[in-house]
Structure formats: C-alpha cells, structure tokens
C-alpha cells in the first residue's frame, strides 16, 4: 500500500462516508453498530487502497466492503439473513445515495413544527430509540413510533417538492 493511494482513498471515503453510514444503518438498524461498521470500513478501505482502481466507481467499491463488514458481524438477536442482505445489495444502486438531498432536507427539518423537530432531534441527533423518547416525553411508545413514521413521510414529501422546485 502506497501512502498516496491510502491518502486518496481516505479523502474519497470522507466525501462519501454518509453513504456508508446509510447502508450500515439500513442493514443493521442500530446507530452504534452502524458507526462501528463505518470505522471498520474506513480501516479496511485504507488497508486495501492499492486494490482500488481510480478509474472505477469508488462508491460501489466501498459499499461492497461495508456490506461484507455487516455480514461478518451480524448479531444473533437482530439480523437480516445473508440471503436477504445479498438480495438487497443486488438491488441497491450507488445513485440511490444522493448528497444533493441533504441541503433541502436540512431546510425541511428547520421548517418542522417545534415538537416534531424535537422528535427528530431526539431520534437522529441524540440517537434515542422510540421507547426512550416516549419515556423522556411522557408519551406512549406506540404514539412515538407512529409520529416518527408520519414525520419522515412529511419530510420526504418536503424534500421532493424542494428538489422539484430547484429543477
């Protein structure tokens, strides 16, 4: 592994780490495990930097590494089967991860009503589960679950509108 190759891969990884995190979160549904996967993927990508050809798709390459990391450390109590992970991976496209959505999404979060924004903050910034959020707010877990589903749907719609308006 050359220093230049490792440095180049690491820079690319920093640029695309959100995609790796999204994949890890999607296939593990656990924030802390997803972060571990991101770190392990970074280390493996750095170690295998010489294997990456600059004229190929970096995102596809690094997501393959991440997927293998996920398969290696599936927990016994909550996991997707290898068959499902492989099937999902086959239907995934690097273009699914669009960084252009992040700006409009930030705006949409800012436009949420205060209490809805608080739910998003507790779930995605503080990384509390719905049960913890329910305990903090004195609400039922079922109500918090339903609220998160609806807020996410409203945010998807908002992002879609803003992206359409931007053209």
């Amino acid at each position: 592994m050359t220093a230049d190759a490792a440095s180049a891969v690491q820079q690319l990884f920093v640029r695309h780490q959100a995609k790796v995190r999204s994949l890890a979160l999607a296939l593990t549904s656990d924030f802390s495990i997803a972060e571990d996967i991101v770190q392990e993927t970074f280390l493996t990508a750095s170690a295998k930097a010489n294997d990456f050809r600059p004229d190929t798709n970096f995102v596809a390459w690094v997501l393959t590494i991440a997927r293998l990391k996920i398969l290696e450390r599936r927990r016994s109590d909550r996991r997707l089967s290898r068959q499902v992970i492989e099937s999902l991976a086959a239907s995934m496209a690097p273009a699914d991860f669009d960084d252009d959505r992040l700006g409009p999404l930030h705006q949409c979060i800012d436009e949420l009503p205060t209490k809805s924004r608080e739910l998003i903050r507790l779930r995605y910034f503080s990384q509390h589960g719905p049960g913890e959020i329910a305990a903090l707010l004195g609400r039922s877990a079922v109500g918090v679950n339903a609220a998160l589903v609806k807020i996410r749907a409203a945010l998807r719609e908002c992002v879609h509108k803003k992206m359409t308006e931007q053209g």
Binding site: S22, F97, F125, S126, S140, R152
Partner: protein, 352 residues
C-alpha cells in the same frame, strides 16, 4: 415518489419502518425478509426509506449541532399543554386562519342546518341501520393508536383516549359518561402550517347490501366536537369525511395516512381511487360548554363494498404537536344507513 403502493409493498413499508426504528419483533423481521425476497418493488421501497433514514442521521448532525456552549440540551419532559414560541410564519398563519374562518363560518352554518333539518323520508325509503351507537365510546376501549385499521369494525389512527367521568379541562361529555380525546397528531397542510389528529374506521357494506335487497344506500355520518380555548391566532377545526371504496382494509396504503391531501385524485393511483367521497368541516369555537356538530352525507355507489370513515381535528398552534395535542374532543359519533336515495343526493334530472 408519491405513488401509492400495492398491498404487499404497503405491508413491507410498515415493517421496514419498524425495522429502521428498531421496534420490529422477531416475527416481523422474518415477515419483512420474506417480502423483501419476494418483491423487487419491496426491495426498492426498502432502499428508498432506508437511505432517507441515513440521510436524516447525517443531516441531524448539522441541523442540531450548533447550540449554546456547543453541547446538545439535556432532553426534558415536555409539559403536555405548554405553549411554544410563535411559528416563524405566524403572519401567513394568521392570513390562512382568516381564510379558514371565513370558509368555516359558511361550513358551520351548513353543518348546523344539516344537523337540525329533519326531512321526511320518501315512501320508497326506510331507515335501515344505525351502525355506530349514538352514545359514543361508553363501553369502548381506547382506539388503537397506530396506522390505518386493517379490519372493519374498529377505530384506528392517531393516539386518542376515552375520557370517562366528570370530564376534563372544563369540558364534559356531550352525552353519557364518556368522550374521546385526541392526544397526538402529525404535521399536515401546506408547508406544515397545521397539525392534524385523525382516526379511521372501515365498514363492510356486504351484509348491508344483502339486507337492502339491491336497493341503493345513503349514509349519514355525524359527530360532535369540542375544544379547549384556542391559543391566540390558532384556528382549530374539526371534520368528518366518508369514502366509498371497493378496496378492502388490508389493501389501503399507509400513504393515505401520510398524505396531506389523502383524497386528492391527482395523487392517488386509479386502483385505489375512492369511488365517492363526502366531507364536512367546521371551525371550533372557544365555548367549552358548546359541542359543535358536523354532518355529512353520501349516496353510496352501487359498486362500493366498503365505507371508510374519517374523523379529525386540526390545529394551527405550535402547542399542537406529535407529542401533545392541546385539547380537542369528539363524542356521539353516529352512522346511519338508509335504503333509497333519501335526500335526492346526486340525483340527475330526468332526461326528456
């Protein structure tokens, strides 16, 4: 992106959401895996939701990171009925509220006239069935707080609770000893200017049609609403709607729940488009002693096999939220089905 989903993918969407929020049971994970393996569309839906989930995680780091002292605030228990700061667009809220007040005044007078009017039934029609008890929630458990109900005969939707006894916040039941309180809502309306709390219920028309012996059906749907005194510049409203459909409860998409305009035909795929709808709406006043009626009626198309009842309150104040709804109540929900086109609804003139 806003297309309605076929049934298998609709169920997958529910399971995927549970998976992403780490609330799926072992059985639900197994079911989700089975659906994902069977359906390419379900796998696409998985990525659509999962990637967005990841984007939320990423964006939240930026959206909530800049705070006094650089530290996130300690999450505090939010008082149920605390009022928050005025929303940024309070001036547009006021403007839209004035428009709604004007429209609601018209609707309110119409609703009142419908409630008071007692047209005589024609000789060819008869009162067939009173499907929902007029006393309202006297013996019922709290409606299930989750998604659209997947079977007939039960309320489901946003979180609500049956209040029994002497009442609450100065409001007493319309009749009997119980009333239903809306507890939580979700963002709705253009640019999230409002929060709405909704409940839904399916009615199977098949047994009624057998009893009716081929005669057409007319549905009258009514309820009474009350509200705590609204926050200044807040214009809470209430409403009912009926949907006639031939799509069974298990095949209604959760996106009905998620849509801000659920019966907007331009956004609903043809296979799920309602056959007919009717709606009534009213602005809630600030008199705790007065219950306000909303009534709507629908001539049921002959091909409809189900009715979907919708009951909601909407609130424009910042105090209304998914964590706490400030205090709107419904009681004495009634559904009456009569045979024949009792009031000549939708009757076309005789052709020469």
């Amino acid at each position: 992106m806003t297309e309605a989903l076929p049934p298998i993918e609709n169920r997958a969407a529910t399971l995927i959401e549970r998976w992403l929020d780490e609330t799926a049971t072992g059985e639900e994970i197994t079911e989700m895996e089975s659906v994902l393996l069977e359906s390419a569309a379900a796998r696409r839906e998985f990525w659509r939701r999962a990637v967005f989930h990841g984007e939320l995680c990423e964006t939240a780091r930026m959206a909530f990171a800049v705070l006094p002292g650089g530290q996130p605030p300690v999450p505090q228990k939010i008082a149920r009925f605390s009022s928050g700061p005025l929303p940024r667009t309070w001036h547009s809220l006021l403007a839209s509220g004035l428009v709604i007040a004007g429209v609601s005044a018209l609707l309110g007078s119409l609703a009142a006239s419908l409630a008071l009017a007692k047209p005589e039934p024609s000789a060819a029609s008869r009162v067939a069935w009173r499907l929902l008890d007029f006393t309202g929630f006297e013996s019922a458990d709290d409606p299930e707080a989750n998604y659209i109900p997947s079977q007939t005969g039960q309320w489901g939707g946003d979180e609500t609770t049956v209040i029994q006894g002497s009442g609450q916040q100065g409001i007493t039941p319309k009749s009997g000893a119980s009333m239903l309180q809306f507890l939580s809502g979700h963002p709705s309306g253009e640019n999230y200017q409002a929060n709405a709390a909704e409940i839904w219920r399916f009615i199977d028309l098949t047994p009624l049609r057998k009893e009716a012996g081929g005669e057409s059906l007319t549905v009258e749907y009514s309820a009474w609403f009350n509200s705590v005194r609204p926050v200044k510049r807040n214009w809470p409203s209430c409403g009912l709607s009926i949907v006639a459909t031939c799509v069974p409860p298990t095949e209604w998409t959760n996106q009905l729940w998620e849509k801000t305009s659920p019966f907007d035909h331009s956004r609903t795929n043809s296979w799920q488009r309602p056959l007919a709808t009717a709606a009534g709406k009213q602005r809630l006043d600030d008199d705790l002693r007065s219950w306000q009626p909303v009534t709507t009626m629908l001539a049921v198309p002959d091909e409809a096999t189900y009715l979907l009842l919708h009951c909601y309150v909407a609130d424009y104040s910042d105090a209304a939220s998914t964590a706490a709804f400030p205090g709107q109540y419904v009681d004495d929900i009634e559904v009456r089905v009569t045979t024949g086109n009792r009031y000549g609804i939708g009757r076309t003139p005789d052709l020469p």
